[in-house]
Structures are given as structure tokens and as C-alpha cells.
């Protein structure tokens, strides 16, 4: 039974359980819903949840564990090796052959006996003909692949049986528990709470997983490359032959410089836009201006990058950099910073607008009632009240600027440099992460592993910014409400 059919079967069972649970509860109550503790629908929901959720959870668990168990067993058939990389490559080959055999069986209509009689000679071209990317086949790998295939088939069968069994068991248990005084509402509410908890755990677990993977690869990197050179060297000069200088500062400086320019552009414009929209604009202006600004936020950053490359970069070069004698490159920190600032405007204006709108009207009334003008009210009452939220918005904007890649690639170039000149090409941490990882190198040299150290540094910086933003917002909110 394929995975799709299995899931579908469980869902159909669950739908049937809903109807059955509801009917059964009603019949136990003699057809009078008032004698039931909960609404009939709650009994149905209880039965449906009990049918579907444990079975599907079992399915997910099984699918996670099955490959590990199979590979552990198959590995005993392969020639023993100490090297983890060789072992995993051999295992990948076994998986590909096993998959190829599956296709061969379908394409050539092989029986089990034909399959057992297959020999490595001349098998590889036949497998490639059905679309399996196998290299060379040895008797050991072929045996391992056969075992792999057989195990997969039997495990698949067991999985179907157990999942369906769990599902049917759920129906039976639900119907067994159904009685007029059974508190189906409380049980199904609790069930739903656990489903919600499980959903939020996915996000938390993913974060933990990402951080751990970054941390392990970074530790790996620091074993190959000294940490003090990474953190304190002022040169970034990767050589794929080895002997690279991998100092983070030129990249970090580019990131900080571009982000500062972006924020210098975005914060005043975004904030003033937000003040205009929330305090001065009438409902009609607001009605079209706010969505129009928010369209800016929907433009993909690669399009901003094109704008930087084709329009802003050459314009800055021709009108500022060359006349002032500051450089002749069309990609520059200034180009990327300006365009990134434009990208951040809707982000900051939209968040600040919501925050300013949340300032209670009574404060405005109080200020106007004392004879303050509109701008005095904004400056002295509304902005101080909204400040924590605005600071939070700015720091969130900063996190985005720091993580931005495409605009920098197209706008600022890829040269890692430490310079104060804003019209010179520079690059950022994110761009270098991409360029160190593109191309088919395996993740074993310091030149590729440095990407993880860069990523972790970036992650820590944005994390600190976000924590700071949250801290500021919390601290001042208490004081102001």
C-alpha cells in the first residue's frame, strides 16, 4: 500500500469515525441530545481525532525511523570501513541501485526469481536506461541493494498494517468510551490543545536544529582554521588551493556599512511617512496611500537588485562618484545601501503606523485640550508613547538589512574590502556565504566550512538585535501603560 493511499485510508476512517461516534453517542442517549454531557458533534470529533491522530503520528515516527533501521541492517553486508564518508557514499550507491531495481522490475516485468538471478555484469547500463544514476556495481552492493529492497517491502507492509491497526483501534476505543456521561467536549478540547502544542514545537525544534547544525559545522571549521584568525584578521582572501586568509572583518564591515546607510535612508522616510499616514492623512488618502506603500514590500529583493544594478549604480557613479573623484565603480556600498533603504521603507512605515495608531486617542485629546498644535502633539506625546514600538520596528528592519543578499550581490559587488569610501565596491557576510558554497566542493575544507561560521556570526548578531528589540519594547511598555 503506498503512502498516499495509507494516509487517505486513515482520513476516510477518521471521517467515518466522526459519523459513527456522533450517531453512537445519540443512540446511547436514546436520541435525546440533552441527556449527553457534550454536544453530539463533540463525540464525533473525539472519535475522529482518536482515529486519525495516533495513527498519523505513528506513521510519521515510522517514516523517520525506518531508513535508519534498514541502513543499519544493510551496512553489515557491505565491506567494513572506518571512514564515515566512504560508508555514506557506499550506502547512497546501495539506495540508488535499490531504487533502480524497483524501476527495472516495473519496466521489464521481472519476477522475484529473475531478480535473484541478476548478476552485476551488464546490469549498470540497464539500470541507467531506466533512469537510475548508478556508477559501477559490485556483487556486495548488489546483494546489499537486494536486501535493502526486501527490507523496505516488508517494513512497508508492517507499517500499513500497524497504522491501519492503530486507526481501527482508535475507532474501537472511542466507541467504547462513548457514553452519555462521557465528557467528550473536554477530551477533544484537550486533544486540540496538544495538536496546537505539537505544531508550535515544530517551529521551536527547527530553530534548535538549525542552530545545532550551524554550531557543529562551525566547530568543525575552527578545528581546521584558528578562531582568532577568523575573528581578528583583517583580510578576506580565500584560496581553494589552501592557505587562505579568512578574516571576518572586511565582510562584517561591509554588512554594517551597508545596513547603516540603509537605515539612515529608511528610518527617517519610513517614520515620517507613518506619522503623515496616521496623524495627518484623511481616511481617503490613507485608504490608497497605505496599500500603495505596502506594495513596495511585496517586490522581490532580486528586482530591487536589478534596480540597483541598472539604474541607481550607474546614476551614482556618473553624478557623484566620478565628478567627486571617489571612484569609478557602478557597484558601491552607497548603491546597495540606498536601494536597501528603499526596500525597508514600507517595513518601517507600516509597523510604525500600526504602533502610532495604537497610541490611545485620549492622549491626543489631552494634548490638544491644552492648546498644543498637531506637530507638538506628535513630537512630545505620540512619539514618546510609541517610541518602544518604533525602536522595535527599526531593529527588526536592521535585522532584515543585515540578512539581505540579492541587493548586495547586484548593487555592491563581491569584493571584500575594508574602506570608508561609500562609492567603493564592498561585500557582505551573506554574499560571501553564497559564494563560498556555490560550486561542487564537499564540505570538508576551511574555505567551504567558513560559510557556517559566517552564518553563525550573522545569526548571533541578528539574534542579539531581536532580543534587544524585545527587551526595549517590554521595558518601556510597562512604564507607559
Amino acid at each position: 500500500m503506498s503512502l498516499g493511499t495509507l494516509v487517505l485510508a486513515v482520513l476516510i476512517l477518521s471521517a467515518a469515525a466522526f459519523v459513527a461516534g456522533r450517531r453512537f453517542a445519540l443512540s446511547r442517549a436514546g436520541g435525546d441530545p440533552r441527556r449527553l454531557h457534550s454536544l453530539p458533534g463533540h463525540y464525533g470529533q473525539h472519535a475522529a481525532l482518536l482515529t486519525a491522530v495516533p495513527a498519523l503520528a505513528l506513521l510519521v515516527l515510522w517514516l523517520g525511523v525506518q531508513p535508519l533501521v534498514i541502513e543499519l541492517r544493510v551496512a553489515t553486508l557491505l565491506p567494513a570501513t572506518d571512514d564515515a564518508t566512504t560508508a555514506s557514499l557506499a550506502m547512497a550507491e546501495v539506495r540508488r541501485i535499490s531504487e533502480g531495481l524497483d524501476r527495472l522490475v516495473v519496466a521489464e516485468g521481472l519476477s522475484d526469481r529473475d531478480l535473484a538471478a541478476l548478476t552485476p555484469e551488464g546490469l549498470a547500463p540497464r539500470l541507467r536506461a531506466v533512469g537510475a544514476a548508478v556508477a559501477d556495481i559490485t556483487p556486495q552492493t548488489l546483494d546489499a541493494a537486494r536486501a535493502h529492497r526486501a527490507l523496505q517491502a516488508s517494513f512497508g507492509l508492517w507499517m500499513s498494517v500497524l497504522v491501519l491497526g492503530a486507526s481501527l483501534g482508535g475507532v474501537a476505543l472511542a466507541l467504547l468510551r462513548t457514553a452519555p456521561d462521557f465528557r467528550a467536549r473536554n477530551v477533544s478540547e484537550r486533544f486540540i490543545m496538544w495538536i496546537l502544542i505539537a505544531a508550535s514545537l515544530v517551529a521551536v525544534a527547527t530553530t534548535v536544529g538549525i542552530v545545532l547544525s550551524l554550531v557543529f559545522e562551525t566547530m568543525h571549521f575552527f578545528r581546521l582554521y584558528p578562531a582568532q584568525d577568523f575573528f581578528f584578521s583583517l583580510t578576506w582572501n580565500p584560496q581553494f588551493r589552501g592557505g587562505s586568509d579568512l578574516g571576518i572583518w572586511p565582510l562584517l564591515w561591509g554588512t554594517i556599512y551597508i545596513s547603516i546607510i540603509a537605515l539612515v535612508v529608511a528610518v527617517p522616510i519610513g517614520l515620517l511617512t507613518a506619522i503623515y499616514l496616521s496623524e495627518y492623512a484623511g481616511p481617503r488618502t490613507r485608504g490608497w496611500a497605505k496599500p500603495a506603500i505596502e506594495i513596495l514590500a511585496g517586490i522581490p529583493t532580486i528586482v530591487y537588485g536589478l534596480f540597483a544594478l541598472i539604474t541607481v549604480g550607474p546614476a551614482l557613479r556618473d553624478w557623484f562618484a566620478q565628478p567627486l573623484g571617489l571612484g569609478s565603480s557602478s557597484s558601491s556600498v552607497m548603491t546597495a545601501g540606498l536601494v536597501m533603504g528603499i526596500m525597508l521603507i514600507p517595513f518601517i512605515s507600516s509597523l510604525s503606523d500600526d504602533i502610532i495608531n495604537a497610541v490611545p486617542q485620549s492622549l491626543r485629546d489631552g494634548s490638544y485640550g491644552l492648546g498644543a498644535t498637531q506637530s507638538e502633539t506628535v513630537k512630545q506625546v505620540i512619539l514618546p508613547a510609541a517610541l518602544p514600538g518604533i525602536v522595535g520596528a527599526i531593529l527588526l528592519g536592521a535585522s532584515r538589512a543585515i540578512g539581505e543578499t540579492m541587493i548586495v550581490v547586484l548593487g555592491a559587488g563581491a569584493a571584500a574590502k575594508l574602506s570608508m569610501n561609500p562609492f567603493e565596491a564592498m561585500t557582505t557576510v551573506t554574499v560571501k556565504i553564497v559564494s563560498q558554497l556555490t560550486g561542487d566542493t564537499e564540505f570538508a575544507s576551511p574555505e567551504t566550512l567558513v560559510a557556517f561560521a559566517l552564518g553563525l556570526t550573522l545569526f548571533v548578531i541578528t539574534l542579539v538585535l531581536n532580543v534587544l528589540a524585545l527587551y526595549i519594547v517590554r521595558k518601556y511598555r510597562e512604564q507607559y501603560e
Binding site: 484623511g282 481616511p283 490611545p360 485620549s362 492622549l363 491626543r364 485629546d365 489631552g366 494634548s367 490638544y368 485640550g369 491644552l370 492648546g371 498644543a372 498644535t373 507638538e376 512630545q380 506625546v381 514618546p384 508613547a385 512604564q479 507607559y480 501603560e481
Partner: protein
């Protein structure tokens, strides 16, 4: 009722501070207030009473043009302050509101220190030349609002940290710090407990020495306690306006009598 302190009903000044003639207010197409004629006297406490939605708060907000901030609100007729039409195009609402201060139903201290809350008005109107002068204004406003003793040691702590009654006295201090000529109070005690209410009422009586005070209230006892003149509004009209004692003991209009005796409203 003998232990309730009634305000002195004798009005010393007879000058008319604010005069309204045929005042009308519309919210969009809704005619919220019709034909209101009132003379508010100087150095007097005038109470506006009436059931909810009768237009008393609306009329109060006309007196310092706070209705300007409400979209779709339109005021017609003539309202004068010291003989000048406050809806005249030459009148700047900002200056008008400096002369006609307002205290709101819910205490609304700014998210600033107690000191900065009181200093807000004097600063924006440039009433003081030096820090020392502002200090003086703040102290005297807080003293007059009977908040000085409680607040003098914590002037730099946030005004929002005070209790509800203290916050409302802070708002009154903030309003009187700009030395207005008229103080409008929109149900200033509705969010307060009886003790804080009594303190504010006492304060209102003291403020009468300097300003004319107009207070909107839902409590007829409060109107009787603090005011010398009372206006009764009903369904967007001014039903009766007169000396407080006469309104409460001998109303001319049967609707006033029904309201104060609890039959309507």
C-alpha cells in the same frame, strides 16, 4: 443629606464669560444638538446634567473647539468667549484651547514624568523664561490641584504610575498650569472612588476663585454639591438653565422635574 457640604451658591461676579446663541451641532447628518442658548458666568461652577446621549458632552467640547478633531462634526450658531466668536475664521483653536482648558472623563496623563506632564502646557505656550519659573508654575499648579504633598518627592517618576484619583488631579494640575480662563471638565469623577471624588469636588470649589468651571456630570448630587448654575440637557436640547438651588428644588420645566426626581433618564 445634612452632612453633605453644598457649595456657596452666591455668585460674586456677574460678567458673562461664554455665551452661546442658537448653537447647533451635527455629526454627519445627525443633528446632535439644537438651539442651545447659555450664558456661562465668570468665576462660577456651571454643571451640565442630563441622561446619556443628551448632548451635554458635545456642547462642552464645542466650547474649546475639541469637536474640530472629530471627522464629520459641524458646529453652527454663535459661541462667544469674552464677546469674541470662537468659531470665527480669525480665531486659532490652539490659542483658544490655551484659554479654555479641558479635563477628560478618563485620566489621561502623558507617558512622561509628573513634572513634565504639568510643565507641558507652559512649555508649549512659552509661559516661562527660565527653568526656575517653570519649577514655580509646576509647584503652584500641583499645590492648587492638592497633589503637591503626594507628588513632591517623585516629580520625575512617570505620571502613569499614580493612582486613578491622583492621575485625575495631575490632569487638573496640567490644565491649570497654562492659567486658563475657563476649565471644562467632562465627567471628571466618573472613574474615581468616593474619596477621590470628594477631593476633586473640593478642588473644583477652590478653583472657582480663579476660573469659571464648567463640569459635565452624571451625578445630580455632584451637580448640586459643586455648582452655582445648572443646565439640564435632554434629547439634544437645553431644557432648563438656572441657579442650581432653583433647578433642584423648584424646576420650571416638567422634564427637569422628572429627571431630577428619577422618573426619566
Amino acid at each position: 443629606m445634612d452632612d453633605i457640604r453644598y457649595a456657596d451658591r452666591i455668585v460674586s461676579a456677574d460678567e458673562v464669560k461664554i455665551a452661546a446663541r442658537k448653537a447647533q451641532v451635527y455629526y454627519g447628518t445627525n443633528h446632535a444638538l439644537r438651539d442651545v442658548d447659555v450664558d456661562i458666568l465668570g468665576k462660577t461652577v456651571t454643571a451640565f446634567i442630563g441622561p446619556s446621549g443628551c448632548g451635554k458632552s458635545t456642547f462642552l467640547r464645542c466650547l474649546n473647539r475639541m469637536n474640530d478633531t472629530i471627522p464629520g462634526c459641524r458646529v453652527e450658531g454663535k459661541i462667544t468667549l469674552d464677546g469674541q466668536d470662537i468659531y470665527d475664521a480669525r480665531v486659532d483653536p490652539v490659542q483658544l484651547r490655551a484659554k479654555v482648558g479641558m479635563v477628560f472623563q478618563k485620566p489621561n496623563p502623558f507617558p512622561k514624568s509628573i513634572y513634565d506632564n504639568v510643565a507641558y502646557g507652559p512649555r508649549i505656550h512659552g509661559l516661562a523664561r527660565s527653568k526656575a519659573e517653570i519649577d514655580e508654575i509646576v509647584e503652584s499648579a500641583l499645590r492648587r490641584a492638592a497633589l503637591w504633598n503626594e507628588a513632591k518627592d517623585r516629580l520625575s517618576s512617570p505620571g502613569t504610575g499614580l493612582s486613578g484619583g491622583q492621575q485625575q488631579r495631575l490632569c487638573i494640575a496640567r490644565a491649570i498650569a497654562t492659567s486658563p480662563e475657563v476649565l471644562l471638565m467632562d465627567e471628571p469623577c466618573s472613574a474615581l472612588d468616593p474619596i477621590a471624588t470628594a477631593q476633586i469636588e473640593e478642588l473644583i470649589d477652590e478653583l472657582r476663585a480663579q476660573f469659571s468651571v464648567v463640569i459635565v456630570t452624571h451625578s445630580m448630587q455632584q451637580a448640586a454639591r459643586v455648582s452655582q448654575r445648572t443646565a439640564f440637557f435632554h434629547l439634544g436640547r437645553l431644557v432648563e438653565y438656572g441657579e442650581t438651588g432653583q433647578i433642584f428644588t423648584n424646576p420650571r420645566d416638567p422634564r427637569t422635574e422628572s429627571y431630577i426626581s428619577g422618573r426619566i433618564g
